[in-house]
Symmetry: D2
């Protein structure tokens, strides 16, 4: 019997970096979680325990901190690209570096209406994120967000669906639609205004969710993804994962009450899970 | 040997209610987690399994939903009070009802700058909360918030502390101060403008955190609690629990770099935990 | 307006210690989370930022590690007592030290039937724990466990309960009873065989849960607590918190099937929560 | 601009099923979380909100419960296969069904040494799992486990690694090696003794972790995966993901103590993450 090593990678996950920029009149902060994963010529470490090619994950952590000092962090895409290129360029056995960065959002505390120069408050459980992959020749970036929690209380139906002997669900013309959007969008290049691109993509997701009547969560997902592509030409493809966080109307009839879609029970599990990729079609001609 | 029942209580925890108010021009939503706990004459159920006095927790859940329909939910304090009085008044064995309500924050999605009438986005992982206790004669309310995450990057010291043979910490004139505030404030009465009171108390916490130089997290906690008491006369007492979420400056010297308090490693555990109650002193006279 | 400091305490929470005892023929490991909280004369730190009396939480962490080296850790009660006495004896402003220790369970990996000398596998998500409180004169210990998850599929009823207009629950002669026991027992003294006491108390909880027919979760709780008191004379009082983790029989009638209590849907929220203290009655006479 | 739908799938996630088999002399229980995901001809739902082809996720949930009644659940692989074949065979638009089942482990409570017929205790936070994929022609199964937490306190080194200007890690001849194994193994066919196969694969992981000296976590991972392949011929490929849960020796020198690898600080983040697939090499000839 011959047993061989297949795909493999390793790295340091979730290094938690806070970078303070001490400007003259105020501080700026960036609060990041950085995960690095390297693929390449690491067979000897697996087969023989020969670590000659293995740059310690501790070194990867150190690199995150040192890089945060040696040059401005910039946007998370900038920082991830800088780190990814570093590992493929300076560590010979590395054939591909993947760097994921998540950013925790902070806003300034407002004191008597004015933003404070060095006091901050966490604004959301939502996270902006990017994954950069670099193979030594080129790099690609996929950015997005996690945990964008949205709900609409009107304009959502679910009708005309398939039925079989296990189907008991009734059609609905008016349900709660609630989800926690996880979105990833792939850029066709790297010459991108990262901040503006993110803001527009996020706003496109929100507006498409809010504006268009929903006949299914699938349709809403598609409209949201399409809106991102329409808003930002540098984005080639969008992948969305959207759990259907069910809210069931409570039967109040036993108490002599009617429930005109006003009182709902929010449940945790099970939940629907809708996943799709939406992209520009290849040029034809 | 004689073995007896001591303090006991029971109830339904974390009923997740979404209430939609369908106004003419827009929807309003309230997203709540309601926990009920009843104390009283329940010894027979414990000792003999005689449930004559036990109102099922399932009924308590039903009551939450029915009450959300029978009258406007109002603020979380209103809703908790209505539920608490109900149980002590209508269920004879109940001698004390405690109702906790947590509210999840939502804001309207803005579409081309305008708030949408029925689409919402979760704004924070912070939660507004209240605990109402009613003994049949009177009710008291303790409100507050959980998970208000704040950080300041200047104006925080920790010096002049006690030392023993296990002390290695160096004094610092400039550290990161970060915490996730859990606050509870007790009202002296119930004739309170709940929304205004909450907004003012929360803003007082934020401003005190931001404005005043910190010589210790204890001092900052006291200033924050005092600011709440100064801002709202109806609040008699404030209890704060504040974990010290440590951010350590990274030693960059091995890489030929200096770290002028710019690059920090955020850690999860262990953490400091500072807890205190601050109150108005009794009248002297 | 006069505003004063009330109850307050501070300390280092969740210091994660692994202690390896390197014996001749094998290793022993203790995997602990240690939380320290001190109360005393700390007003100056709160009011003026004067930290003269404040032993840093960093020092408390160091003490945990140093104490783990200076003498055998022993059982978690031994270790907590040693730490608690240390702080009240050596740090003058401390009037009360509270030390909580949680232990994560490990067993040896078995290799071809034999226990391995230095390889271990985590056995459970259950945790043994203790809280020791020392005021300089005396110490008390409360030990227990968290997350002991148990389920019985027969011999559990819930009938004869109170009804009101919101009651829809049907009586049941045969339901699933499932809970995650959180138990704390207070010792009347400290001359205790900790290991044997814990093992007997835990087994008493399990046997009482298993053996006796349940007419309510309250009754089961009481029987479990009583069994602990009957098993171990050094235990003066037991406090149990037991969520009722609901399992609902699924209605299979729409599919032409009967459900004779065989198919259940396990839900997360809401859940019942039953809490009680059971103790020895004071001597009469 | 033309925008098109790419890969997409949907289904019901985390249906929590408890199945009780009421045998004459005892009960048996199976406690499962079942997640279903369907791919196929669902473009109309995405593009036009036409749900003709969409079998509701609610129906999928019902199917899980009904199937648990209509025939014995069997092993998780049996149950997943039965569900997966059902969806591709009876729902015409479905081209691929993927069914994931996780099982929560229970053991019987022992009362005076004897296993109880219907009382159970949760034994571990570890979970056995399987993912079955069925395209209408054939099915494949990938089974495994999550959260197998192991630690060895001797026989682990990390030396001879690559260094660059950011490397500060010292070589170690004796470190703690701790991880939470996530394992997935792909079967070459479906004629498998599932219980025996799982037990042997799990034991192979444990013994390889325990027995062989570790020169790197990569080497240990490879040895563990190889041991699974050697133990069970029906397994074609093993994928392991193993976080390196760091335990750092505490510097006790400031307290006049030496630390001969006895006192460690367990940290949460960052952590190393080692991932690899190990498989049988293709036949040559």
């Amino acid at each position: 019997m011959n047993i061989v090593l297949g795909d493999n990678r390793y790295g340091k996950a979730e290094t938690r970096l806070l970078r303070v920029a001490r400007l003259d009149d105020r501080h700026e902060i960036r609060d990041l979680s950085v995960s690095i994963s390297l693929a390449g010529d690491f067979e000897a470490s697996h087969i023989r325990g020969d670590n000659t090619n293995v740059l310690p994950t501790d070194t990867q952590k150190n690199t995150v901190f040192a890089f945060a000092k040696e040059a401005p962090v910039g946007e998370i895409e900038d920082f991830a690209l800088r780190l990814a290129w570093h590992f493929v360029r300076t560590c010979e056995p590395v054939r591909e570096a993947r760097v994921e960065v998540e950013e925790y959002p902070w806003a300034r505390v407002h004191v008597r209406g004015a933003p404070h120069p060095h006091s901050f408050v966490r604004t959301s459980a939502e996270r902006r994120l990017t994954t950069v992959t670099c193979d030594g020749e080129a790099a690609t970036a996929v950015s997005g967000l996690a945990n964008l929690v949205v709900l609409r209380s009107a304009g959502s139906e679910f009708r005309g669906f398939a039925r079989d002997r296990y189907t008991t669900l009734e059609e609905t013309h008016d349900r709660i639609l609630a989800t926690a959007v996880s979105a990833r969008w792939r850029f066709s290049g790297l010459d991108v205004q990262w901040v503006e691109s993110f803001a527009d993509a996020r706003q496109a997701l929100l507006e498409a969710f809010a504006l268009q009547r929903s006949l299914s969560l699938q349709q809403t997902l598609f409209q949201m993804a399409r809106a991102v592509l329409e808003a930002r030409p540098e984005i080639a493809e969008v992948r969305l994962e959207m759990p259907n966080k069910h809210h069931f109307p409570v039967d109040l009839a036993p108490f002599g009450l009617t429930n005109d879609n006003e009182v709902f029970h929010a449940t945790d599990r099970p939940y629907g899970l809708i996943e799709a990729t939406v992209r520009r079609s290849p040029a034809v001609g």
